[in-house]
Symmetry: C2
Subunit: 116 residues, 2 copies
């Protein structure tokens, strides 16, 4: 192994906080599932109740609830109750801007998606 002591010295000087790294990876992991992305997309059109989401995405209610819980834990969605039904909606503006940012990367270059 060749020498990098100088470089490493410099890098360790302004290393990012480990807690933030974990939070950040945790956040992106939530976006890293097709089902959750579909849910977020659906909610970008406006609030929806749980069973409407399930019907739209053709998945059963339990699976939807489980994923909504994950999304809520990371504050990507919020909900309100109206009688028996609970309506979910996007939590804040960040949520869709993160998706939009990723979208640009994905749609920008479409050649050899899984190449190499």
């Amino acid at each position: 192994m060749h020498d990098h002591s100088a470089l490493l010295e410099k890098m360790r000087a302004h290393a990012p906080d480990e807690g933030n790294i974990l939070s950040l990876a945790g956040l992106f992991k939530v976006f890293g599932d097709p089902t959750r992305v579909r849910i977020l997309y659906a909610l970008s059109a406006g609030e929806m109740c749980v069973c409407a989401i399930g019907e739209y995405l053709e998945m059963d209610q339990s699976a939807v609830s489980h994923q909504l819980k994950v999304l809520k834990q990371h504050r990507l969605v919020k909900n309100r109750r109206e009688g028996k039904t609970i309506y979910y909606s996007l939590a804040d503006r960040h949520v869709f801007s993160i998706i939009t940012q990723g979208w640009e990367h994905v749609t920008e270059e479409t050649e050899n998606e899984a190449a190499e």
Copy 2:
């Protein structure tokens, strides 16, 4: 289950392409691992060779190579050879702006991270 036919009708009208959903989730999944985030952060300071990354992150060379391969497949990093060593760097401007976007969400609200 109550009725949503009207809502669903409208939503299916402008549903996002399934292929794009999968690509997008795939992209975020790559960002959803602490090791890969650490690597991207490291590379944001400038290009580094594989063993420097490994030394910096205190993980062995093989693990680094495996993750670099994932990052490269998703065009988040690029590399160039110089003799025996191969230098990796961020692929384009998107990469860090995606991280920055996520960072804002993570650092904005720090109360009850894993609550509920």
